[in-house]
């Protein structure tokens, strides 16, 4: 294995969240929800949000995908709980910058663990799909978002 880069990507926190994703369930009282799909690899994710006064009171997800997509969804839900829509937007743009190697991950907390993605451009979409899906849910613009 090209150990350094691989270890950078699959950090212990990521592997842990991929194996035991948090907030992995259906949210019965969701006010907003959306589905995301990556036709290239078949990753699927569904995000449920309970939004009150533009603040995420609760959030959960379900889906199927690789370790990166599962861990990203799991860590995202942990981070987003209690945040306002504006804060979600800010976190998303920082997260995207981190994943594509243009940002340093500051202000991202635990999500900074995805810094290893910069060495794997083909895997950026795995991590961002759930974010796009969350934004779609909050906007309720489309029910199914696609990475393509």
């Amino acid at each position: 294995m090209n150990d350094i880069e691989i270890a950078d990507l699959y950090q212990e926190l990521i592997v842990d969240h991929s194996r035991r994703p948090r907030n992995y369930r259906r949210l019965e009282n969701a006010t907003h929800q959306a589905e995301g799909f990556n036709p290239l690899c078949g990753d699927k994710v569904k995000v449920y949000v309970d939004l009150e006064n533009d603040v995420v009171r609760d959030i959960s997800f379900e889906g199927e995908g690789c370790a990166i997509s599962k861990a990203s969804a799991s860590l995202m839900t942990e981070t987003i709980k209690g945040k306002s829509k504006a804060e979600v937007e800010q976190l998303f743009s920082r997260f995207r910058d981190l994943a594509t190697g243009t940002g340093d991950g500051s202000g991202l907390g635990k999500l900074a663990v995805f810094s290893g993605l910069r060495g794997f451009p083909a895997r950026v979409k795995c991590a961002t799909l759930v974010w796009h899906t969350l934004r779609a849910a909050l906007e309720q613009t489309a029910n199914i978002v696609s990475t393509e």
């Binding site: 691989i6 699959y10 212990e12 592997v15 842990d16 690899c41």
Partner: protein
């Protein structure tokens, strides 16, 4: 001494063969490339690269058009490639060899020019669960447009087509049968000879999609007795963008053209156009001349190596790799047919194929992950995707060792918090 030499030349010299393929000798992420994605496309031997390069360096010209020397050389080389294909698959005549873009275009050609005119409402097209999307979607399209029905023959848990069940799918409504020779997702070799006999007993014509077969098994369309046979050059060590449709001459003869343009006509007036002879009737426009020449060189190369010797080598690797991989805890092999070629499609407990692909890539190991353009196969086995390692004649046991080691190490990575 000379007797020894003769013996040697009849052997399968893996080192020499590997030297014939320049792309194999490179490092990827600092590791020697282990290319195990041959079902997607194969690497090219120098003989093919040189033939294509020779055409562009000195013979580049259009074919069938001019009287000048270059055009004559190009035409000769293009038609020589057609003869090579004809002999390689044992077709009766060069008129039965149509150059197309690949297996996909060959299937679409048959769908449009042969099956569509015969299709009636309520008619049926019979395929199998094992098909590549390119042998599913054209028929779905036709079924939608003609109110016909797509019938899908089942497979068993080993990924084998069951002949009894297949026969039950044939009926008086069946208009056409289109089946893979070898499954790209699982490596299963289908009993195509028996299938053709069953269909012909009911006067139903058959297309065999040989995209995965030509590089791994001797193909004899005469003995198979199929009506059409389709394959792609790039999966048999030739260039991309070139492929072959074999069709029985009497059938091709009665079919209308697929595309219209230059080269496929004899005379054109605004009142009436008469079509060219076979196979040109189906080769509208300037063809992929360099591609055809490259494909000819690829088949000549394969003939020199010996398809039987290559097949024996690959069977050895298949047995070795099967033992090696099935010994890995948590690895489930998908596709365990008795008759199969060197395709290892598998899932690992607790590790998604996408992650397997990324991690193996950093080891220099190229495998395919995903649904392999065969989503119904994935569904049949209840998995969203698999990791697939697929062999060609230049692969080695050492490469399979590297694969197995890579898998064991990535399993450790994913076990850290377990």
């Amino acid at each position: 001494m000379s007797a020894l030499r003769v013996l040697k030349s009849a052997e399968f010299d893996l080192l020499q063969i590997r030297r014939d393929f320049p792309a194999l000798h490179q490092k990827v992420h600092g590791k020697p490339l282990v290319y195990l994605d041959n079902a997607a496309t194969t690497q090219k031997p120098k003989a093919v690269i040189d033939a294509v390069s020779q055409f562009y360096r000195s013979d580049c010209s259009n074919v069938h058009r001019a009287v000048h020397a270059l055009s004559e050389r190009a035409t000769n080389a293009y038609e020589a490639a057609r003869r090579t294909v004809q002999q390689f698959i044992n077709a009766r005549s060069e008129r039965e060899i149509v150059f197309v873009r690949g297996a996909t275009e060959a299937i679409n050609l048959v769908m449009n020019s042969f099956v569509r005119p015969r299709m009636k409402s309520g008619g049926e097209i019979l395929i199998s669960v094992l098909e590549h999307h390119s042998n599913i979607v054209p028929w779905q399209l036709l079924a939608e447009q003609t109110a016909a029905r797509l019938v899908v023959a089942p497979i068993n848990d080993d990924g084998e087509l069951m002949l009894d069940e297949f026969e039950q799918c044939l009926s008086s409504r069946t208009v056409f049968v289109s089946l893979a020779h070898i499954s790209n997702a699982l490596g299963t070799v289908l009993p195509v000879r028996e299938i053709v006999q069953m269909a012909h007993a009911r006067n139903i014509p058959v297309l065999i999609d040989g995209a995965q077969a030509v590089a791994h098994a001797g193909v004899d369309v005469h003995e198979l007795d199929c009506d059409f046979y389709a394959f792609s050059g790039h999966k048999v060590f030739g260039p991309t963008g070139i492929g072959v449709l074999y069709g029985r001459e009497n059938l091709l003869d009665e079919m209308p053209p697929y595309q219209a343009g230059g080269d496929m006509i004899r005379t054109v007036t605004f009142e009436k156009t008469t079509y060219n002879d076979l196979p040109y009737k189906f080769e509208a426009g300037t063809p992929h001349i360099a591609g055809a020449i490259g494909l000819g060189a690829a088949l000549e190369y394969l003939k020199r190596v010996g398809i039987d010797r290559a097949g024996a080598h690959e069977r050895g690797l298949l047995a070795y790799g099967t033992e090696l991989l099935t010994a890995i805890p948590g690895l489930r092999m998908i596709g365990t047919a008795r008759e199969k070629i060197g395709v290892f499609s598998f899932v690992l407990e607790g590790v998604h194929p996408h992650d397997v692909g990324t991690i193996l890539d950093r080891d220099g190991i190229a495998v395919r992950t995903g649904h392999h353009c065969a989503q119904p196969v994935m569904e049949r086995f209840g998995v969203p995707a698999t990791t697939r390692a697929s062999l060609a004649l230049y692969n080695s046991k050492a490469e399979l060792d590297a694969l197995a080691n890579g898998i064991r190490r990535l399993q450790k990575l994913f076990a850290i918090s377990g």
